[in-house]
Symmetry: C2
Subunit: 242 residues, 2 copies
């Protein structure tokens, strides 16, 4: 299934006891449909607290037989209004929503203009001008296959931090010069990677670092060399490709 | 002062006992600044529950002497993040934020495309195509000075329902064909008037009524002749002119 959600009221995608999560809501609704038999939902990956998704993907097995679009409608009627199932289809038994991912696209929205209370949960309110041309230059150093350990979660104990960023772009809003969207298309992402990249890009946009500093930061393989983790509310999982 | 707010978590602008209102939050914060002495805030007019404002205006008297921008910052630091003071200036003693209004602009946003959970509190999710050309024609019959009793709140016991709509427009989003914004500039508005006009326009867009039916609806001076009251979440008080 393909689904979108407003992450602002959730403790992230992944199920946790006692707190509201996207996976928790999905499994609760599917259990009702599946005659109270537990359903486990496997998504393309987790999203952190307050992060949104435009086209997240997941698979699950259902005991109950139902036509996909009927299931989609039933599920939407049970889900809270900030989660919406856009599409549902039957996949082969060997399909896995996480293991079969070929690429993912994330976008990050920044408001360089005045604080906007209406968008506070949907755009990072930076509220100052940034040198977006220098940020755009830095993006070119991020593209390609690199060891992204410097941009990973501090205590991440992975062995392999090598990931490939296929394409990046910095898009200026045609109607609002203060609104900028940074897009990352990659075959895989580490936890906090996009937000750590954006945090570093912001420091470049502030003039605290140069675009070519990205080369050294990547080289260092040291989280302390990169910038701060950017706020979650500007981040959207835009699409997942198989 | 000029201020914007996300109305989705509020019971409207106007102060009421025991519920969260914009005026209530403003007066609570101003009282702290004014050394616990009560401050009464007079806005250009109320907005209903869940309705937003981009540039609402209000005046008040403060015992405490403070430079306007310092007051603006102090107030923003005390207000919840869904209310934001954009501008503050000293006005003459005879200025009144309600009585001196020359015109107001409201906009109403409709999503004719797929349900969007991220925008559920910020755009009316109609989620079906509308005949926007016919709606645009109907807008032309709304412009001018008319008795708008048919578009007023059912039990409104005013004597005078005559208002002037100076200009209207229907704006299609350049990036999203399914997003439409209807704008109303008028010297005054009755309670629920914009939402009742939009509800009627939607029925015209659905083909249930013709654009020229607006002439008869106005003529009837009967609330039952007009369409339903459109949902509050699509409505924004865009600006107030003095």
């Amino acid at each position: 299934m393909t689904f979108s959600y407003d992450g602002s009221k959730y403790n992230g995608y992944q199920k946790q006891p006692k707190v509201k999560t996207i996976q928790g809501e999905l499994e609760k609704a599917l259990k009702v449909i599946n005659s109270e038999e537990k359903v486990e939902v496997s998504a393309s990956g987790r999203t952190d607290a307050k992060v949104h998704a435009l086209k997240q993907k997941a698979h699950f097995d259902l005991t109950k037989k139902m036509p996909p679009d009927g299931l989609r409608k039933a599920l939407n009627s049970l889900l809270p209004p900030d989660i919406y199932i856009k599409d549902m289809e039957i996949v082969s038994d060997d399909f896995h929503a996480r293991y079969n991912v070929r690429a993912k696209e994330y976008v990050y929205r920044i408001n360089m203009g005045e604080y906007d209370p209406i968008e506070k949960d949907y755009i990072y309110q930076y509220n100052k001008r940034l040198d977006t041309v220098e940020m755009e230059r830095a993006l070119k150093y991020i593209e390609g296959t690199h060891d992204f350990k410097s941009f990973s979660k501090t205590d991440d104990e992975k062995d392999d931090f090598v990931r490939t960023i296929v394409q990046t772009s910095l898009i200026r809003d045609i109607k609002n010069v203060n609104m900028v969207t940074i897009s990352f298309l990659g075959t895989g992402f580490l936890r906090y990677m996009v937000r750590n990249l954006v945090g570093t890009l912001i420091e470049i946009g502030e003039g605290k670092r140069k675009s070519e500093d990205v080369i050294d930061i990547i080289e260092a393989k040291d989280r302390r060399k990169a910038g701060k983790t950017a706020n979650p509310e500007g981040l959207y999982l835009k699409d997942v490709f198989y």
